[in-house]
Symmetry: C2
C-alpha cells in the first residue's frame, strides 16, 4: 500500500454494524471421516430416507412395514372397498378399449406380431398391480419404446426374413431392459434418468413422432416394399420410389367403398380407437375388402401368453445388440413411466418412490420377457385416460388385464379383418399428440440453451437416428453442466446504502463500492476444474478495478474480500487457489467471508501457518468485515500489516 | 394453517431489522439475448480478456501489441542487456549438461534411437524462445511423455523388428500432438487440461515412475530378452524369467572392474548426470568393458537434425494409432509444460497466458515433427535447475540449444562408449523424484475423495496401463463433479441471536430456529439433473421438521423460506421445481430470498401469474423476510393468505 493512499480513505457509508459487533467464524462441530462418509452416502443414495418410518417401531410392525415397502398392494389392499372397485372397473374397461387397439398397433410399430402387443397388455399390468406404488399408471406397451426396440433390432436382423430370431431378440432385449431398470432401483441409482431433461424429452418425442408418422405411410398408403430404416431421408425416398403403388391405393380408396377413417377424434375421446377398429373391421368383413387391395391383420392365434423363457438369448453374436437395445429402451421407458407416475401423484398429492417404481417396472419386464411380452411401462396417454375415468387404485390395471385376457381367449378371430390402415392411423394420432409445441415455446421463452438442446434432440432423431439423437442431447446437457462448473460466476458486490447488505453491483444499480475494498462473490464449488480459471478471473477483477479511471482517483485496493457463502464444496486444488491468491495479491489483505462448514474445515487443515484463516481474515458477513477493516485502516496512519 | 397454531406464535428473537426497512428485490437491468450470449462467450473462452490492452490505443500501437502477442520475443527482446545475457549463459550451459544425457536416456525410454533425443533438444528450444511467454521453462524431451509415446506405439509396432516404421509413427504422433496442442490454444479450449487435477497427476506420476524404473531393470540388470509391456506383472515376470542372465551380469559387476555408478546424487546437483556419463564413458573406453558384457550406446551419427516431413503418416492403417498417441502425449506434455510455466511465473510474479503457451508448445512440436524431433515440452526438473541457476529469459534455451548443436556436430563419437546402465540410472533417478509422498499425505489430510482419485490413477497406471490409469482417474473426478451437481447441498438456517444473520443450524450451534419458519439454503445451480432430487429433499426437510418432537409443541410451519443466494443459474426444469413446490407446500407460504439476476429473470418470465414472484414472496435477505412475515403472522388472528 502506498503511504499516501490511506489518507484519502473516508468511507462515508453508513454501515449498520459497528466493529464491536463482529461475530466469530467457528469451525463446524467435529465429525469423523466415517460419519461424514456415511452422511454423504445417505444424501446421495437415500435422499428420501426410506428407513425413517421404521424408526422407533416394534419388530413385528417393522416386518409388516418392510413387506408393505416391497409389495405396496399390502398397504392399500386391506382398505379396498366396493366403492373404490366401482370406480376402478369403469376406468379399467375404458383403458382396455384403448389398450387392445394400441397393443396391436404398437407391436406392429416394433415390427413384432400384433398378438405380442396383446400379450404385453395382459401379464405386466398384473405384476404392476402387486408391486407398483402409483394409483393412476396404466401399464402396457408404449409408442416410443416400441419404436426404438423395432428400429434398433431391424438394423441388424430382418423381421420378415428371420421372424423367429427377431422375436427372440425382442424378448431378450426386454429381459435386459427389465434387469437394467430393476438394478437401477435396487442400487438406488435412479438419478441416472434425471439426466434426460424436459427439453431433451420434448425434442426427442417430437422427432420420434415425425419418424413414426412417416413410417406409418406404409400402412396408410399401402406400400409393400417399404424401407425399414428410421431416418427422414430413406422414408421420404421410399414413398417417392413407390409412387406408382401409392397412386393405385389412393385410387382404390377414392373408388368409394372404404374411405380411410383417420381418427381425427380428440385424444380425450378414449372410445374412438376401439370404435374405429370395430367399425372398419365390420366394413372390411361386409364388403370383403381384403380381396380389393386392403391389407388386413390376418389370422391371429387364440389363447393366453405362451412361455418364452426358452427364447431368451444370453450368449451368441447378438448378445451385444440385445444388451444395447435393452439399455436404451429400458432407460427411455423408465423415464416415461416415472415421469407419468410423478405427474399424476403430484395432481392427487401422494408420493411415488422413484427407486421402488424402478424395481416394479423392471420386475414387470423381466417377468414379461418370460411370458411373450415385450418392453412395457406406464403409458402417458392411457394413464391420463385412466385418471380422467376415475381410477382409484391399481385394480383398474387388473380389470384391463382381465378384459385383455377375455379378448385373447375368445375374441381373437374377430380381429382377422381389421385393416392395417386403421392401426396406422391410431399410431399416427397417438404420436402426433407427443409433439408439444406450447412447451417448446415456453422453453424458448425461459432458457435459450435448453431450446438448443431440444432442437438437437429433435434434429438428431429426425436426421440421424433415435438413439443418436438422444445421446447428442444428453451429451450437450452434461457439457453445459461441466461448463458451468469450469467457468463459475464471480460477481462484484457493493453496499446497498443505509444497510449492511452487499449485493451484485451490476444487478442492484443503487449499490455502491466501498473505497479501498474489492468485494467478490464466488458462486460455485471450487475444484480442480475451475481453480485456475478463478485465479485468473480474480486477478483480472483486481486489474480492471485498478485501471478504471474514476476508481484510480479514490484509492487503490487495500483489501480483497471473497464472499464464500455460495462455495458449497472445495477440494485440494481449491485450497491451493487461496494460497496462490494470497501470494499474488501481495500487500493487499485477503479476507474470506462465511466459508461453509466443509470449506472452512479443509482450509483450516491445509493452513498450518494460519495466514489465510487467521482471526483477522475470517468474517461472518461482508458487512462486518468491511466495518472491522475500515476501522483498522482508519487506525493506521500510513501502512498496514 | 390450523386455527389454534398461530396463537402460540411469539418470536422472542430480537431481529435487528424492523418491517419498515424491507428492501425490494428488483430484476437486473435489461440485456438482450445477444448481449447475454456474447458476455457468456467471453467469460467462457476469453476469461483473461486478451483484448483489454488493445483498448484506446492508436492503430500503430495496436499492430505492435498484436505482433508482441504472438511473438513474445518482441516484448522482451529490445530490452535485452548484457547483464541478463551473463545470467542466461550460465543457466543455459547448466541445463545443457542435463539435457544431453537426459535427451539420450529419454529417447531410449521412448524406444527411439538415442540421437533423436539430442535432435529434440536442439530445434524445439529455439522455437520456444521466439514464441513462448515463460522465462524459466527449459524445453526438451520429458520422461512421462517419452514413456507414454513408447508404450503406446510398442503395443502395435515393434521398434526392434521395424525401426523405420516405428520412427515414422513417432514423428507422426508428435505432429498430431502439436496440432492438438496448438488447436486447443487457438480455439481457447485450454480449460480441457484443467480436468487433470493435482491429485490425478500425483498418482499418475508416481505410478509412471514405478513402471519406468522397472522397465529400466533391463539396462540396469543387462537382460537382453525383456518384455516390451508396461505393466507391473509382465515386467516382474520378465525379470524372474531372465534370472540366470541377471545373475551373470551381477557377477560381472561384482567382478570388480566396473561397479555401476548409480547416481544417488541429489537432484539439486545438476552436473551429476553429465559427470556420470563422462566418467563411465571414460572408464568403459579405458577398460574396453564393452567386450566384457557391458552394453554401450554404440556408434552415433554426427550432424544436425535431418528433415523428417516426408516420414509423417497421414493415412494408412496406423493413422488411428498415431492420432490417439498424439492426443494422449499431447495433453500430458501440455499439462506438464503449462503447470511448470505457471509455477515459476507465480514464484517470480509474472503472468503466463495458458492459451498462448499452448500455441507455442504446439507449434514447437509441429515444427519438431518435421525436423526429426519427438514430443517435447517444458520439463519440470530442468526448469527448476534453470530457475536456480539464475535464468532471466528464454535466451537460456538458446544457449542450451547451441550447446547441443555443438555436441551434435563435433562430440558425437565420444558417446559411443557410454554404457546403457548409466543412462538407465539417470532415468530411474529422474523419475523416482516424481514420486511426491508429502503431497500425497497433504491430499489425504485435506480431501479423502481426492486421495481415492490419486490411488485410482496410481494403481490404474501400475496394473492396467498408462493411458487407462489416467482415463479412470479423470472419469472419477468428473463423476464426482456430476454427483455434486446431481445431489446439491441444502442446509437449514437459524438466526444468530441478537443479529439479523442466518446461518447453518448444524454448523453454528448458537443459531436458533424461528418458530413457524423453515428456512433452507440451496447451494448449487438448479437444473434438470437435480430438480427432482431437490423437490424430494425439501419435502423431506418439511416432513422431518414437522415430526420432530420439540418442534411439534411449538408450532407448525407457516412459511417455507428458500435462500437462493447460492443458486447461480437455473434452467427450465429448475423453474418447474418452484411451481411444483408451490403446489406441494399448499397452505404454507413459499418465500424466495435473494435470487440472483439470471435466476430472477427466468422466474419472472415463467411466472405470469406472479404467484411465485409476487411482491410478498421475494425478499432481499432472510432477516428482512422473517421480520416482514412475522409481523404479518402477528397481525392475523387465525389464518393467513
Amino acid at each position: 500500500m502506498e503511504p499516501n493512499a490511506s489518507n484519502n480513505m473516508q468511507p462515508d457509508h453508513c454501515l449498520e454494524i459497528t466493529p464491536m459487533e463482529v461475530h466469530k467464524v467457528v469451525p463446524p462441530p467435529h465429525r469423523s471421516t466415517i460419519q461424514k462418509f456415511k452422511s454423504r452416502l445417505k444424501e446421495t443414495f437415500f435422499p428420501d430416507d426410506p428407513l425413517l418410518q421404521f424408526k422407533r417401531q416394534p419388530l413385528g410392525k417393522k416386518w409388516i412395514l418392510g413387506a408393505q415397502y416391497f409389495f405396496p398392494i399390502l398397504q392399500w389392499g386391506p382398505k379396498y372397498s366396493l366403492k373404490l372397485f366401482k370406480s376402478d372397473i369403469v376406468s379399467g374397461l375404458t383403458i382396455a378399449s384403448l389398450a387392445i387397439p394400441q397393443g396391436i398397433s404398437y407391436a406392429k410399430l416394433a415390427s413384432l406380431p400384433p398378438i405380442v402387443g396383446l400379450y404385453s397388455s395382459f401379464v405386466p399390468p398384473l405384476v404392476y398391480a402387486v408391486l407398483g406404488s402409483s394409483r393412476d399408471l396404466a401399464v402396457g406397451p408404449v409408442s416410443i419404446a416400441s419404436l426404438i426396440l423395432g428400429s434398433m433390432l431391424t438394423q441388424e436382423v430382418s423381421p420378415i426374413n428371420n421372424p423367429l430370431l427377431f422375436l427372440q431378440l425382442a424378448f431378450s432385449s426386454t429381459f435386459f431392459a427389465g434387469l437394467f431398470q430393476a438394478s437401477l432401483g435396487l442400487l438406488r441409482l435412479g438419478f441416472i434418468i434425471d439426466f434426460l431433461s424436459k427439453a431433451t424429452l420434448i425434442g426427442f418425442m417430437a422427432g420420434a413422432a415425425i419418424i413414426v408418422s412417416l413410417q406409418q405411410l406404409k400402412s396408410l398408403l399401402g406400400i409393400t416394399h417399404f424401407t425399414k430404416k428410421m431416418g427422414l431421408v430413406p422414408v421420404l425416398s421410399s414413398v417417392f420410389h413407390n409412387f406408382n403403388e401409392v397412386i393405385v391405393v389412393m385410387a382404390n380408396y377414392t373408388d368409394g367403398f372404404l374411405l380411410p377413417r383417420v381418427p381425427s377424434t380428440d385424444q380425450t375421446l378414449p372410445g374412438a380407437p376401439l370404435a374405429s377398429v370395430i367399425l372398419s373391421t365390420i366394413l372390411v368383413f361386409a364388403f370383403k375388402a381384403q380381396n380389393h387391395g386392403i391389407s388386413v391383420i390376418g389370422k391371429l392365434q387364440e389363447g393366453l401368453n405362451p412361455p418364452s423363457w426358452n427364447m431368451l438369448h444370453f450368449h451368441g453374436s447378438n448378445l451385444g445388440l440385445v444388451i444395447k437395445t435393452g439399455l436404451v429402451t429400458g432407460i427411455i421407458s423408465l423415464t416415461e413411466g416415472i415421469a407419468v407416475g410423478r405427474t399424476f401423484a403430484a395432481l392427487k398429492n401422494y408420493q411415488v418412490d422413484g427407486n421402488k417404481e424402478m424395481m416394479a417396472i423392471g420386475l414387470m419386464n423381466v417377468i414379461g420377457s418370460a411370458t411373450s411380452c415385450y418392453v412395457t411401462t406406464g403409458a402417458f396417454s392411457r394413464s391420463a385416460v385412466n385418471h380422467n375415468a376415475g381410477a382409484k387404485t391399481a385394480v383398474s390395471n387388473v380389470v384391463m388385464s382381465v378384459t385383455v385376457m377375455v379378448t385373447l381367449l375368445f375374441l381373437m378371430p374377430l380381429f382377422q379383418y381389421t385393416p392395417n390402415v386403421v392401426l396406422g392411423a391410431i399410431i399416427v394420432t397417438a404420436v402426433i399428440g407427443l409433439i408439444d409445441l406450447p412447451a417448446a415455446c415456453q422453453i424458448w421463452k425461459i432458457d435459450k440453451f435448453d431450446f438448443v438442446v431440444m432442437l438437437c434432440a429433435f434434429f438428431g432423431v429426425v436426421f440421424i437416428s433415435v438413439q443418436d439423437g438422444l445421446a447428442i442431447a444428453v451429451a450437450i446437457s452434461i457439457f453445459k453442466i461441466l461448463l458451468q462448473v469450469t467457468r463459475p460466476k464471480t460477481t462484484i458486490l457493493g453496499n446497498i446504502p443505509g444497510t449492511d447488505i452487499f449485493r451484485n453491483l451490476h444487478h442492484y444499480k443503487d449499490a455502491t463500492r466501498i473505497p479501498g475494498f474489492l468485494i467478490l462473490s464466488i458462486e460455485a464449488p471450487i475444484n480442480f476444474a475451475n481453480a485456475t480459471y478463478l485465479k485468473e478471473r480474480i486477478l483480472r477483477w483486481i486489474n480492471e478495478y485498478e485501471t478504471e479511471e474514476d476508481i484510480k482517483k479514490q484509492s487503490s485496493i487495500h483489501f480483497l474480500i471473497l464472499d464464500l457463502s455460495a462455495v458449497s464444496a472445495i477440494d485440494t486444488s481449491g485450497v491451493s487457489l487461496f494460497k496462490d491468491l494470497k501470494k499474488a495479491v501481495e500487500t493487499k489483505g485477503l479476507v474470506l467471508v462465511n466459508p461453509v462448514g466443509e470449506v472452512l474445515e479443509k482450509l483450516l487443515r491445509a493452513d498450518d501457518a494460519r495466514d489465510i484463516t487467521g482471526p483477522d481474515t475470517l468474517y461472518l458477513t461482508v458487512g462486518e468485515a468491511v466495518a472491522a477493516l475500515s476501522s483498522t485502516m482508519k487506525g493506521q496512519s500510513s501502512s498496514h500489516v
